[in-house]
Amino acid sequence: MATEVVKIVDPGEGEGHDYHSLSLWEAGEQGDLTGVRDEIAVAKCRATDGDADTTAVVIDGWTTSATQYIKIWTDPSESHRHEGVWSDSKYRLSLNTGGMIKMSTIGQDNIHLKIDGLQMSIIVDENEDYNNCIYTAYRSNNNFDISNNIFKMSVSSGYSDENRGIYLQSEGTFRIWNNIFYGIRTGSSQTDSSAAIAINSSNVTAYIYNNTVIDCDYGFNYVSGSTVVAVLKNNIAQDCTNGYNGSFSAASDYNISDLASDAPGTHSKNETTVTFVGAADFHLDSTDTAAIGAGENLYANANLAVTTDIDGEARPSSGAFCIGADEYVTAGGGTVLPIFDNYYNHMRG
């Protein structure tokens, strides 16, 4: 059985740190995990003094397998993980177009990778295209789990387009759940082409569950590619130009859009507004009647079992899920339907 080898990434140079940046970690730990190392290479990210990790990361040249993989995360038992809301004091990858390696914060090559609990931000203030938080390009046999992350962009450049939170341009299997995306837009002088999640490759199998997308050109965009199976369940798209674009799997269901004829699935809701806690806090508000208790139970889903939400709080093992990245939890610890809501004091959405 592979051994987990944990290294601490901390731009704040905290006690016991191994690397200053995720990029340096990749340079130092790169190699064959399947041979003598027999290893799960873990980057545990911290932000001791609140400094951002500002170096773009390219993951390449590794050899991995399903059991000997790369894991990049913030440990929820530590104080460096976001709490479901963007925080400038928690670990984050933050880049400007002018200072980043072109195109991507993370580009992967033929690998098994898990990314959990990160914050990624790109400020697009130059006329550069293809600003992608996670980008997989022209490869095959990729196997990614991307969970509990917050992706955001601020696009002030008028001519920047083709920006994405996650851009799947590689063959492989991708499981994407409990993520929040917002502000992923195209510059005002260009035609909308940006997306929270975009698929643009053949031979893709993607399970995209319980994500929340706000204020993006496209929420979920199946651009092109043959032999693509993209199953979308329990997702929210709000304030997007086009929430769901393309032919998603017939198994897709229980999605929400505020646009007409948009969300795929017989139980999905269109022209439906979700009520969040605040302008940049996408936890479900106690007054919400659209997403709370309205989703499919995916606790034991064969393709992607979702057992917690973006805050690490438990999803119900039976009964309806909430739709989106947040599971509405009361002080008592359970999900409640809105009709019973007045009987509880809320911790938060």
Partner: protein, 145 residues
Amino acid sequence: MCEIIVKAVSVTHSDPDKDRRGCYKRGYPVAVYPDGTKWGNEERLPKFVIIKIPGVPVDNAIVQKYTQMEYEDTPNEDGTYPVYRRRLWTIRWANLPAAARNRLANDGELIIKVGSYSGTYDYTWNQVKSYFRNQKTGLDETENP
């Protein structure tokens, strides 16, 4: 003052194409940090060495260019450029003077004097700059930070 963290060991991949495109090699500059950086437990021998250049700011263009990747000349169909090597520049490690190689192997650092710097140093920039080579052009460094 800036400090360049440089790969001290080569990573290899069995696929020659992936090896060239993806793997860091000994002598590849990885990142530039300011003077006084508290290097992490792994940011030192045996994986890395530090080239210290007192008096040169961390955002100096000459120093920063050493961390650029080398891209192919022909773009992908979407206009982006594939990476050809992880670094455009490399330090010709094997060609360094024996004393410099020993200093790196033993202490994990070299101090390079640039300009009016008056502290202790191992070599001047003029003595070592030609060991920085652009892998695409095959030409060695001639400029000063």
